[in-house]
Symmetry: C2
Subunit: 146 residues, 2 copies
């Protein structure tokens, strides 16, 4: 699935450029890092994991880039209930949700087509123009059940 992730950071960069935004080092570093991730990551993880040319980027830039990406619908914010916001690329081909372990904090992705259909049907019955959704399951992971 490497091709898909690579193309996300590229198409995201293009989308921002089309929106009239310039491309600086910090933004490129955040895009590259996010595109290389399997699942959601926190702002702090992006901060320590992303860098350009050996130099670290400012934490403020991380939050600013994430804000832009959110506004353009290029990333999805994920809130698993531990007080830190996580973010992941909005890949429509690999749409998924998350299970969180109450004991160790581990987060795993999962996907389910029937669940998606049920959500779409429920969303249609509300007085909202629904544009996105998020499902979080909580429980104990295999390791913590022992």
């Amino acid at each position: 699935v490497v091709p898909a992730t690579v193309s996300w950071s590229q198409s995201a960069q293009q989308a921002l450029r089309s929106a009239g935004l310039r491309s600086g080092g910090a933004r490129r570093a955040v895009l590259d890092f996010l595109g290389s991730q399997e699942c959601c990551v926190s702002a702090q993880e992006i901060h320590s994991g992303a860098g350009h040319g050996g130099r670290a980027i400012g934490i403020a830039s991380v939050y600013r880039v994430l804000d832009e990406l959110l506004e353009h619908g290029l990333v999805q914010r994920v809130d698993v209930g531990d007080g830190v916001a996580r973010y992941e690329p909005a890949l429509h081909e690999h749409h998924h949700h998350h299970v969180v372990c109450d004991a160790c904090g581990r987060v795993d992705p999962f996907s389910d087509d029937a669940l998606e259909r049920a959500i779409d049907r429920a969303a249609g019955r509300l007085g909202y123009a629904v544009r996105g959704h998020e499902v979080v399951l909580r429980g104990r992971c295999g390791d913590c059940r022992r």
Copy 2:
């Protein structure tokens, strides 16, 4: 639906007592306030809305009581993505989820049986012992669509 909410604060109080916890003024005030709410409320809202005998309760007590309630499964934590945690009584008869307006921040509850069934089925396929879940839809409410 008043009877249901009244009984929640009472049964929650009883549950805590059974767990060997004492019953102080702050805890009773938080329980009464939570039981009287229609939907999820933030810790700050509980702090300003709950009081006992004309005296306000400390914000620290609010968080401590919420922690106990969470540990005993008596409240559900709700995270709609604005950075503040919200809480509501865990009423198994009135289980529901939330829609959030991206524009004005409004939060509305909704429920859907087919959605619940889809979640249960999906949860059964994971290597987790799933004990709870949360669904958040995002979009524009009727007022903000104009």
